[in-house]
């Protein structure tokens, strides 16, 4: 039963190992093999490991977020994100854009009764804005607003997602944190082990002489005469495992301190005042330049005369 063994796995066709020069050709063939309505409107990210990128900067909206469409026929509609697709695409609920297509009978799904069905169309991340509810301090009411851009800063552990996430803030006003939608709780399945059983510690090293593994089991673990078993580390491994020499030199310390200070400096956005000030300066410069040009022109005309 070849499917049990993973030995020949590396000889299989794998899109991730395809050279870049062959990618366009493969993509074309891939698209040709799909019916029109099933084709993704976005460029395929076939060389990525997952269809959903892991970085939160790339994945601005999570499943369950309320978003507003700002472009296209469904402009202004508020929808919920239901799924991610490749290339920063989002599938929305029934308020989102759809396409009506004819499906051949071979591709009919369960409970389908007609050839014509409506398919949700994916919307690009740039054409969406996040909807958030913000308490207005002046009036004391909650306002529903669309956030123009988001910024991801800091780190915290989210108990529901079971992941370290970044705080999602409004760009330009970092004190406004928009919480992520709560994911649906994952229930224990048939093969799950209770948390307390998993976390219980049963292994303790008590003896330096007695091995915790019975001798009869050792041969089934690893081949003791394996050619891959190395006794010496390579130069690179040794370098990685050796901590840097301490203390740091004075120059290095000064350099690091300077970098830290530079990081602390606030980053200013250009205000209208600044813009007018800069504009005035440019006008003044232009006037001076113009004068200089006039004088130069006069001189040249005199010479010519």
């Amino acid at each position: 039963m070849s499917f049990l063994s993973k030995v020949g796995e590396r000889f299989k066709f794998d899109i991730k190992r395809l050279p870049k020069s062959l990618m366009t050709r493969y993509e074309k063939k891939y698209r040709q093999g799909q019916p029109h309505f099933m084709r993704s409107p976005f460029k395929l990210d076939l060389q990525e490991d997952n269809s959903v990128p892991k970085e939160f900067e790339k994945l601005k909206y999570l499943i369950g977020d309320r978003v507003m469409i700002i472009k296209g026929p469904k402009q202004g509609n508020i929808c919920k994100v239901s799924r991610h697709v490749e290339g920063k695409g989002y599938i929305l609920d029934e308020n989102g854009p759809t396409s009506t297509v004819a499906v051949p009978k071979e591709l009919w799904q369960d409970e389908q009764t007609s050839h014509v069905i409506t398919f949700p169309k994916a919307v690009h991340q740039d054409n969406l804005r996040l909807i958030a509810e913000i308490d207005d301090e002046k009036t004391g009411l909650t306002k529903t607003v669309a956030v123009d851009n988001l910024k991801f800063i800091g780190k915290y552990y989210d108990e529901d997602y079971k992941k370290v996430l970044k705080y999602r803030c409004v760009a330009g006003q970092e004190d406004l944190v928009i919480p992520y939608p709560r994911p649906e709780p994952i229930e224990d399945d048939a093969l799950s082990t209770p948390v307390d059983v998993v976390r219980e510690r049963t292994h303790f090293i008590e003896s330096a002489v007695r091995n915790s593994i019975p001798e009869a089991a050792l041969l089934t673990l690893r081949n003791p005469y394996s050619k891959h078993k190395r006794t010496k580390l390579t130069k690179l491994e040794a370098k990685k495992l050796t901590p840097p020499k301490m203390p740091l030199s004075e120059t290095k310390k000064a350099y690091l301190a300077e970098r830290e200070e530079l990081k602390k400096l606030p980053k200013y956005n250009i205000t209208d005042e600044m813009k007018t000030f800069l504009g005035e300066k440019i006008r003044e410069h232009e006037k001076v330049k113009a004068k200089q040009l006039e004088e130069a022109a006069k001189l040249s005309t005199k010479r010519f005369l």
């Binding site: 976390r199 330096a208 593994i213």
Partner: protein
Amino acid sequence: MFQNSKRLLHTSRVCLARKQAPKKKAKFVPRDKTSKSTAEVPLRITPPITPTVKNFEVSDDHPLWQFFHEQSYLRQFDELDKNSRSWTIPELRRKNFNDLHSLWYTCLKERNILAREQHLLNVDSERAAQPYGDLAEKVRETMWRIRHVLSERHHAHERSQELLPEQKEQILNEFKENFLTATKDEEVELQQTLSRLQYAIFGISEIIADNIVDKHFVEGLKFIANLKLERYAKDHPDFQELTPITDAGEAFVLFHSEPTTKSITESIESVKNLRSNNIRVDKLYEIESVTEFVNKLVDESQ
């Protein structure tokens, strides 16, 4: 006549020529009849046996049931585990050998079930068998991680064998100093520390039957015998004469005695008896002799 004869050269044919008269065959004697033929018995018409699964009786504890999930032929896609993930390496590092061993076999059984189901569906379409394969892959991941954790432990143990001789003397000296200077109030705690040390450095377990006698064990016996002698019988008149204990037999007597002055004094008497009778354990046969002593103790306790 020529049809039956073999085709051979006239020279080689001579070699095959029969020289002895053939043995006479025994006369054929027909056997007594044990059963009657169908022709002799009047024919009876019975209802035909229909070939159904119900005609087979399989006991619930048949070993092949281990290849089935709750005795069902094929699980539906919805019945499969979808939310679980593989065990991570840090999680497995917390578990002892027995736990990992049983987890390994739980995984193996589950993979057998999944492989059977996958094989059934693979005949129809590979796509239908895919979820079963994906789940089996998760289980397989746990299995290689178990092997990884165990080999990690084994490598650490091998490394500790290299480092132990360097640090052993220092550890033992430190312990000896604490052991000899401890007050009587700390006695209970002291014995607990000693039992931990003897298992850690020499592999001597408190449970006698669990012990394996080797060079570490014998070395430990001698160390602990000297230690006990120095703590509980320093004022004994024969202390100078007895120390250091180098004989494995004498060491065993002292090691086995209770950690009290009275018990140690009794042991000293038996050690002196051994010396006066010139009973010593040969250095070459220390391990064998101590194994005998330990086995005797185990038999006595049983």
